[in-house]
Subunit: 285 residues, 2 copies
């Protein structure tokens, strides 16, 4: 497994892989890897000859009052995990490389980024789409994977790939959860033991939403109200947003007649967590 | 010479060219070709095995009150001109192909697009950078050329290519002029014979700016004032902007101490024309 620390080396590595006839898979991450990331890696690996993982805590996707400075990092452990999966190369750029002096170019997926986390975190998706496009241009993958936990991000990136005519297949990884249901996230590290307990209300409330859906409820407001009630009743939990929107366009719906996503963001203490459930898919995740 | 009418065919053509080991040159245009475009084509042709020209009047770079509907078109003549230069493929996408329903992704080069034509034509460069990035992704060129007449566009696109880590060389073509000095532009077609005469003040005023610079004037305001006076004294000419800014960053300067560009946009009758002169380069264009 190679650790690649410059853009030029990463491009040369991918070019050499291509010349040898290999296909390239890619999982972009911000590090502090967990089973969610590893499951994406295995999923990509099954489809491509080579697997590249990037670890880059991307400053442009953090707002001024967000957790950029304290975002958890553990490169030695990340490296071990990547090696255990059989990653071929880890790409480790620095902010100064990615955004040198005079950097001015940003990609916006408009409309899809207006609501949900886009409304709660202005500029967040502009940072995400920009860095992902740059990473795609550097790594030149055939396949890249993103998790469903960041549901809006996934839809935004799928839109970007289509709109910008990129030759690239996006794989969607299911949300990977702890045994008790908490969606895996690098930010779970911020939680105290007590908060960790309270945070279970997120997945439990989504389970309640699924039950309501299965029992025939099709009114988004009824489902959102039930979820909101559960979360609001939980200590240290403050709702950022709870919305039930069209699963593809992320737009408001009057009634659930095709797949819809219940997406939520909740602050548990000072830690903002997100989770979601898609209702009306063949397979109810 | 092949006429290629779909994105899929264009991608397949470029892929085949690459597999054969050929390098690809690219000149994106809005058609109604003139010697300025042809000189770009010849310049690229000297550096690559294959030459692709796109002809696409890009709706997203026109403002609501601009000349999209009446922008001049003459595909038969354009095709002849391309054949005369030895173009290998002309790519002719439609707006519906480039911007299908649900299209939402736009590229912005911030900062560089705040002034000059960016201020006068809100959204213009967002359309330019977006379509050019899409065309780059479709045609996959090694080399692409843009003319210096659209000076700000050239700087914006150079910035985009660097910022987004594209593997692509941008060639700059000098402004090609009619015998009497008028910068070639597809929009010159809009001018009446009388306006055509008045429009000569643009290149003449730039010549005056060069003289002032050569005579030692380094105060931007003095040069801008002289140019403004000439243009304002000419019938049917209405100044949109006249600015003398840093040639690379397009930022305001207090004194000319390194290359600077005098850029101007003038309405001659209803036709908006642009032109520019770079001062302080080795070669005074």
């Amino acid at each position: 497994m190679q650790l690649i620390e410059t853009i030029a080396e990463m491009k040369a590595w991918s070019r050499a892989a291509r010349v040898s006839g290999a296909t390239i898979g890619f999982v972009p991450t911000m590090g502090y890897l967990h089973e969610g990331h590893l499951s994406l890696m295995r999923q990509v690996q099954a489809q491509t000859d080579k697997l590249v993982v990037s670890i880059f805590v991307n400053p442009t996707q953090f707002g001024p009052n967000e957790d950029l400075a304290k975002y958890p990092r553990d490169l030695p452990h990340d490296t071990e995990l990547c090696a255990s999966v059989g990653v071929d190369a880890i790409f480790l750029p620095t902010p100064a490389m990615m955004y040198p002096d005079g950097y001015h170019t940003y990609v916006n997926v408009e409309n899809l980024t207006n609501g949900l986390c886009g409304a709660a975190r202005p500029g967040h998706f502009r940072g995400v789409t920009t860095v992902v496009l740059k990473l795609f241009n550097i790594v030149d993958p055939d396949v890249a994977a993103f998790g469903r936990k960041d549901y809006q991000q996934l839809q935004v990136l799928k839109r970007m790939v289509v709109d910008l005519n990129l030759d690239l297949k996006i794989l969607e990884g299911p949300t990977v959860r702890e045994a008790d249901g908490l969606a895996m996230s690098s930010r779970n590290k911020y939680l105290t033991a007590e908060q960790r307990g309270h945070a279970l209300v997120l997945s439990k409330s989504l389970e309640r939403a699924r039950e309501l859906y299965r029992s025939g409820v099709r009114d988004p407001q009824e489902i959102v109200a039930a979820v909101k009630e559960m979360i609001s009743a939980t200590p240290q939990c403050q709702v950022d947003y709870i919305e039930l929107v069209d699963a593809q366009h992320l737009s408001a719906i009057g009634m659930i007649v095709k797949p819809a996503v219940l997406a939520l963001a909740v602050k548990v203490g000072n830690t903002r967590l997100i989770d979601n459930a898609v209702l009306g898919e063949d397979e109810c995740r």
